[in-house]
Symmetry: C2
Subunit: 289 residues, 2 copies
């Protein structure tokens, strides 16, 4: 592996195929400097790209990062941001192998993650089949609950607020699902129902999930009660937790850490998502809207 400092990095990809994904984060839109530390932003920028790699069933190997920074950005901001990138990458054994820094009036981060399929076919959004079960791994609703909390001017409970600042993607669950024969998989970035909608559309199926299948974490129940919000809304509709959701043949053993929440049903027209047998108005997660 040849890292930063030359025209380009060289990353080992034993598989002969490389998984690649890129995402932009804009100050004031995808993060706020008064709500998140630079370290948080680094963790989040890395996490949302590494999670996309895991959602293909691959193991993240490398991250390239572009930083567009206003002239008055303090040096410590960039340093702590880089610390966050590195620590998140360390969780999966990936390296920060390249980057670019330019001046810009707006603080913006561009991250590209690479990953290795370890010889397996990629798990796309298009393989869900009628009769499959639907399952998720990771956390749902925490980022939305954290954002709701911050938006009301509160800085606690810390665990919930940190849910917005730093997602906790279940990285190993992606390759685990691929090994277990997952028929489709997606990273929950727009919201569970919205992202299941992407799977339903790509696969030409309908997906039905059940509210009763979700355990409500105590912290979300408490914050929901305090803010007058049903925490299930955050779980079904909140984005940016970067949980993974996948479908498995009903005969397959769903791996440890995956929770079954519904089933895949044959559909004639455009794939849609039912919650407790009713259409659910997802709308997706619109960041700071």
């Amino acid at each position: 592996m040849l890292g930063p400092g030359d025209d380009a990095a060289v990353v080992t990809v034993p598989d002969g195929r490389v998984v690649a994904t890129t995402d932009l984060l804009v100050d004031g839109r995808h993060f706020r400097r008064d709500w998140s530390t630079p370290y948080d932003v680094g963790r989040k920028a890395a996490a949302q790209n590494l999670a996309d790699v895991a959602a293909m069933g691959a193991v993240p190997t490398a991250l390239l990062v572009g930083l567009a920074a206003p002239p008055d950005l303090p040096a410590f901001w960039a340093e702590r941001f880089a610390d966050g990138l590195r620590d998140e990458c360390d969780l999966v054994g990936a390296g920060v192998v390249g980057g670019d820094v330019v001046r810009s009036d707006v603080l913006l981060i561009a991250a590209t993650a690479l990953g290795d399929l370890e010889g397996r076919p990629p798990v796309t959004r298009a393989g869900a089949r009628a009769g499959d079960v639907v399952a998720f791994a990771g956390r749902l609703g925490w980022a939305a609950a954290g954002l709701a909390t911050l938006s009301k001017g509160f800085r606690s409970p810390r665990a919930v607020v940190d849910g917005h600042r730093r997602p906790v993607p279940p990285y190993p669950a992606g390759p685990d699902a691929a090994r277990a024969g997952a028929t489709s998989m997606v990273d929950v970035s727009d919201g569970l129902v919205a992202d299941l909608g992407h799977v339903a559309t790509a696969s030409g199926v309908r997906i039905e999930i059940r509210r009763a299948a979700f355990e409500i974490p105590d912290a979300l129940a408490q914050v929901g009660s305090a803010l007058g919000v049903d925490p299930l809304n955050w779980i079904l509709n909140g984005g940016e937790d970067h949980a993974l959701v996948a479908t498995f043949a009903s005969s397959a053993a769903v791996p440890v850490g995956w929770h079954i929440i519904g089933t895949v049903v044959a559909a004639d027209g455009d794939g849609d998502v039912l919650v407790d047998e009713e259409p659910y108005s997802a709308g997706g997660f619109d960041h700071f809207a």
Copy 2:
């Protein structure tokens, strides 16, 4: 190859290693919308990343592009930009395999290029050895001359102005140089002397080039005469043409399309660059400064 539309793309990398590089372009800093069409900006964004891949001796295979766009950006701008990306990628047989679009107050492009080494070692900046010859491939000075022309309010000569709008990197010259045993190589993005300085420093050598080794293209001579600028300044100091400059053992046959301009000399301290045996104040190319 699995393209856009899923969590990530999958790119074939027969070599088992992938070359990866990322760059940001900011509106008003790396391009101006009153000087360049969206098609030009797409060509340039792709070119400067694909050239970095070629500078490692690799063949570009794929491009991922993030576009941060203000809400009032016309739809045709993004469409013509995408056309430019695709046409530049077509020159080398690469595909635009992924991307991301977000809202931002500033128009910004993040591009990441991937490439294949075809079984060869990467050609870095660090391998130049005393006794090597120095050679370049591609065009030098055109982007700087074009920028100088536009900055004076002129829109012609078209060939020179287009030199700023759309670089013409000599893509195949990168793998050609690698096959011919190039000991070091770099993409000229900061300016010839500045980028040779990077090679000299990384390799721990001194590099000596000769003004007489450069042919001055007629178009640059004419524009230089009109603007009162020695066109050799653009050739030695201008950036953004994305020529390639490399070193070869003196016993090696320099490939077709490469022009010898100097030699590598042993040095004690930090590597530096002499032009006609004198230190040259490069300063590098500062875009619109």
